[in-house]
Symmetry: C2
Subunit: 508 residues, 2 copies
C-alpha cells in the first residue's frame, strides 16, 4: 500500500468513523446475528494476492457492522462505559503511526516519560496521596497497564513476593514454597471477577467475604476472617478494597479497612477501576477517605474518563517492590546500567508484557483537549442522568430500586419473584433496542442500568426508560400490581410471547 | 472536540504520519535527550480548560519526536522488528473508531469471530498442524494476546493447572500446594527473558538449560535435567522450546524435544515469536519439524509480519484446558449459558485481562492488503538482506561472524577481547546514526544486527555497514590486525576519543 493510497483510505476511515459515531443512536444497539455468522461470509483463507483496498471500508459496513454491539450508543447501558473520545482516537492513531515500542527508556524516552508525567497529572486531578506521584520525594509512581485485571494481578504478585521475602528474612530456615502456600488474599464477594482470577493466576488462596446490606466489605467481617485464618495457620497477605463495585457501585470504607491492613502488615490494593474517575470532582472524594493507607491503586481512564481501551492507570507507593518482584535481566535489555531514574523508569519491569505501545498519547490528548473542567462536566452530567433515571423508576409502582443511583449506575427490579425481572431482561435484550444487564445481590436478581455513552442526554434516558417500561407491560401491565388474576394473565401473555419467539429463528 | 475539528485534526495526523514515516531515514535513529528531559518542557498539571487542538501536532514534533527512537528507520537494527504497515495502522484506527470492547461474544460478535477466522488464516499460512485450527474437528483454536510474554505465562498456568489436577485425580490424598511446589519448567538459557519471568509470575521453578554450541536446547540436556529432577522428587511440567531465539535466532529441534515431552507428560509450548513469521514461506518449514508434538504455540505478527503492536497470536491444541484453568464466572458476564461455540468463544476466559480491543482488524487488513505472496516477498527480502550483510562483515578481517545470518539476524564481533566489541558498540550508539545492540553467547560478547524496517533495501545495509566499519577504525584501524603495537596505538586512540567524550555532556 503506497503512501497516497494510505492517505486516501485512512481519510475515508476518518469520515466513516464520524458518520458511524454521530449516528450510532439510529442503529439497534445489539446485533442481529447468530454465533458463527461471520465465517459463513468471510473467505476460508487469506488471499494469495493483495485485495483492493477500496473494498475494505465497504466490508466493514457490510460484514463487520452487523456483528457490532454499539458501545457508544446512548442505548448501551450495560457494564460500565467503554471509554471513547475523539482526542483519544487521534492519540491512538499517532501511537500506531509513530510505531515505537517502549519497553526500555532508550527505546523511546518520550514514550516512557510522557506516561510518568500524565499519570502524575491524573493523580493530582484525583487528589491521590502525594506518595503516588513521581514528582514527590518518595519512591512512588504510576504506569499505564492493559487492564484492572493486570493491575490487581501485579499487585498480588508483589504482595506475595514482599511478604514471602520478609518472612524468610526473619527465619531463613523456613521453606519458601510452604510460606507461599499459606498466603491468603481477601476481597468482598461484590468485587470484580478479576480479583478471584488474580488469585487463581497468582496461586494465592482468595476469600471473597460476604458484603453487608449496602454491598460493602465491612471491617469486622475482614477482621473476623483474618483472625480465623491466622488461627488456622494461614498468613494474611493481600486485600483488594473496591471503590465502586461492578454489581451496585458500592464503596468499601478504606478508613476502616486501611488500619487493619496496616496493623496486620497486609498489602492494601484499591480497585477504583470505574468510580475512581469521579474523584476528579472534589465533592466525591469523601468516598476514598483512607486512601492514604493503601499500597497501590488502579483506575481505568478507559472506562469513565473518555480514553479508549486500553489505558488502565496503576500507582504504587514504593515502586522498588515491583522491580524486585518482576525484574529479569538480559544483556540485550540493558541500556542504562544501574541508573533507574524516577522520570525514566524501565517499564518492562512493571508489568507482565515486555512490549508496550505509546498509550500515554491518548491520555495526554484527552486531558488536554477536555481540560479538567470539561471532564468534571462530563462526570457530573452522567451522575445527574443516573439520578434522573432513578426518579423515573421510582414513579412506576411495578418496580423497586435495589440500590439508589451510585455514580452512573442504577440497580432496579420488578417487584415480586426474580423470574419477573429475568423475563423482562430477556425480552428487552431480544428487542435489541436497549442493552442493560443482570446483577444479583443476596437473593435478588436485578437490572443494571448504566449511563455509558459520552454523548448521552436526558432524552436518551427518557427513551431508554420508555423501552424498558413498555416491555414491562408484557410481563405485568401497569394496572396489575397486587392483583393476582391479572398477574396470571400477564404471565400467560409472556408465555404466548415466548412461544412465538421459540417458533422463529431467534436473533443472537 | 466537535466532529469537524476531529476530522480536520485526524487528517492532519494522517499527513503527519506519512511525512514522518516516508522520511524517517533522515532522522538520527536514536534520540539526543537525557533521562527526564520531558518533564522540564511539559506543564506540571493538566490544563483547567481545554487546550487548542491546533497545538497538539506541533507539540508532537517539538516535544515528543526528540524523544523518539525511530523503530521504522532503516538504521534501526536492534531487537527484532516492531511490526508496522499502513494497512495495520488503518486497522487500529478503525478499532479505536468503532470502540467496542469484546470480552464476551455478545459484546461484539464480529470482534470475537473475526479473530477466530484470521487466526485460522494465519495458521494455514504457516502450515501449523490442523489441530490448531478452529475449522478442524478438534477442540483447538487461536486467540490474539498482548504479547509473547502473556502467551507463555498463560501456557505455563494451564500446564500447571492440568498436571496438578491430574495428579490429584490419581491420588486425592495429596496436598495441592505441595504438588505445585514440586512442578518444574524447562527452557534453554537462550530463550527469551519472558520465559524466566513467566516462571517467576506463575510461581513455577524454572531451569534454563545450557545451550549447545549452536545456541539450541539439545534433547540429551533436557533429558538429563528431567531425570535428575525426578530423582530429586520434582515433577517436570512445562517446556518452552524456541524457534528463533532472541540472542542468535537459533532453532530448538522440536522433533527431538517433542517425543521427550510426550513420553513424560510434559506440556510443550513453542515460542516462535519472531521467526514463526518465516513459516509462511514453505522453504523454512523444515525448521519447525516436530511442531505436531506441541501443545501450544505463539507467534507475534507484531514482530515480523507487519502488524502493529499489540498482536501476538497464540494457539492451543485443546482450548478446554484454558477454560478450566481460567474461568471465573459472574452473573454479569454470562450471556449464552453453557453454549461455547467454536466460532464464538468467550475470549475473556483465554487471557489475563477481561477487556479487549478489536485487534483482529489490523491483522485482517494486513493479510488482505499484502496477500500471502506480498508477505512472503517481504520475509524473503529481509532474509536476503541479512545474508548480504553477513558477506560485508566477512570481507573485513577485523571482524568475525558469531553465528551466520539466521532469518533477519546477523551476530558478529571484533576479533580479539570482548572489550573491543563493547567499545565499538558504545561509540556506534553515541553516534546515534545506527541502532544495534549487544548479545552474549558463552564467553563472547557480540553485536546483533537485525533487518527491521519494512522499507529496508540493499543501500541501507551498505550504509549501516559503512557506519559500523568506520567506527571500528577508531577501535582498530583496518591494517592493525595481528599487529600488537598498532593495537596498542588504536587503543590509545579510543582512549583519547573516550576522554574527549567524557569532557562534554554526553547525550543519553
Amino acid at each position: 500500500m503506497d503512501p497516497e493510497d494510505f492517505k486516501q483510505m485512512a481519510k475515508e476511515a476518518i469520515d466513516y468513523i464520524v458518520d458511524y459515531i454521530e449516528s450510532v443512536g439510529n442503529r439497534a444497539v445489539l446485533p442481529n446475528v447468530e454465533p458463527g455468522y461471520l465465517h459463513h461470509i468471510i473467505p476460508k483463507e487469506a488471499p494469495e494476492h493483495p485485495d483492493d483496498w477500496r473494498q475494505i471500508i465497504p466490508d466493514i459496513e457490510e460484514k463487520i457492522m452487523p456483528g457490532i454491539t454499539h458501545w457508544n450508543s446512548p442505548m448501551f447501558n450495560a457494564y460500565f462505559p467503554g471509554g471513547y473520545s475523539y482526542p483519544s482516537v487521534i492519540g491512538d492513531l499517532l501511537s500506531s503511526g509513530i510505531g515505537c515500542i517502549g519497553f526500555n527508556w532508550l527505546l523511546s524516552p518520550a514514550c516512557t516519560e510522557l506516561e510518568v508525567i500524565v499519570l502524575d497529572w491524573l493523580a493530582k486531578m484525583m487528589d491521590l496521596p502525594d506518595f503516588y506521584l513521581a514528582s514527590s520525594d518518595g519512591p512512588g509512581g504510576g504506569i499505564i497497564q492493559t487492564s484492572g485485571s493486570e493491575g490487581i494481578l501485579v499487585a498480588l504478585l508483589i504482595a506475595k513476593h514482599k511478604l514471602t521475602r520478609q518472612i524468610l528474612e526473619n527465619d531463613p530456615s523456613l521453606d519458601e514454597n510452604t510460606i507461599k502456600g499459606k498466603l491468603i488474599a481477601y476481597s468482598c464477594d461484590q468485587s470484580n471477577s478479576c480479583v478471584e482470577k488474580a488469585g487463581l493466576l497468582g496461586s494465592m488462596k482468595t476469600r471473597l467475604l460476604q458484603a453487608d446490606n449496602a454491598g460493602r466489605l465491612v471491617a469486622s467481617t475482614l477482621l473476623d476472617a483474618i483472625t480465623q485464618d491466622k488461627e488456622n495457620g494461614l498468613i494474611p497477605c493481600f486485600v483488594v478494597a473496591t471503590l465502586g463495585t461492578t454489581g451496585t457501585c458500592a464503596f468499601d470504607d478504606l478508613s476502616e479497612i486501611g488500619p487493619i491492613c496496616r496493623r496486620e502488615g497486609i498489602w492494601l490494593h484499591v480497585d477504583a477501576a470505574y468510580a475512581g474517575a469521579a474523584f476528579i470532582c472534589p465533592e466525591y472524594r469523601y468516598l476514598m477517605k483512607g486512601i492514604e493507607l493503601s499500597d497501590s491503586v488502579n483506575m481505568n481512564p478507559h472506562k469513565w474518563l473518555l480514553v479508549n481501551f486500553d489505558c488502565s492507570a496503576f500507582w504504587i507507593k514504593d515502586r522498588r517492590y515491583i522491580q524486585e518482584a518482576f525484574s529479569v535481566d538480559r544483556i540485550y535489555l540493558r541500556d542504562r546500567g544501574e541508573c533507574i531514574e524516577k522520570w525514566a523508569p524501565d517499564f518492562r519491569n512493571w508489568e507482565i508484557s515486555l512490549g508496550r505501545r505509546f498509550r500515554a498519547l491518548k491520555l495526554w490528548f484527552t486531558l488536554r483537549l477536555y481540560g479538567v473542567s470539561g471532564l468534571q462536566d462530563y462526570i457530573r452530567n452522567h451522575i445527574s442522568l443516573a439520578k434522573y433515571f432513578e426518579t423515573l423508576v421510582r414513579k412506576d409502582t411495578r418496580f423497586e430500586i435495589v440500590s439508589p443511583a451510585s455514580m452512573g449506575l442504577v440497580c432496579f427490579r420488578m417487584k415480586g419473584p426474580n423470574m419477573l425481572t429475568s423475563d423482562l431482561l430477556k425480552i428487552i435484550l431480544e428487542s435489541r433496542k436497549i442493552f442493560v444487564n443482570q446483577g444479583k445481590f443476596g437473593e435478588k436478581n436485578f437490572i443494571r442500568y448504566v449511563i455509558c455513552s459520552r454523548i448521552m442526554c436526558k432524552d436518551d434516558v427518557d427513551r431508554g426508560w420508555e423501552i424498558i417500561s413498555s416491555h414491562a407491560d408484557i410481563i405485568r401491565p401497569k394496572q396489575s400490581l397486587d392483583c393476582s388474576p391479572l398477574l396470571i394473565e400477564s404471565s400467560t401473555k409472556f408465555n404466548q410471547w415466548n412461544q412465538k419467539r421459540e417458533e422463529k429463528i431467534i436473533p443472537r
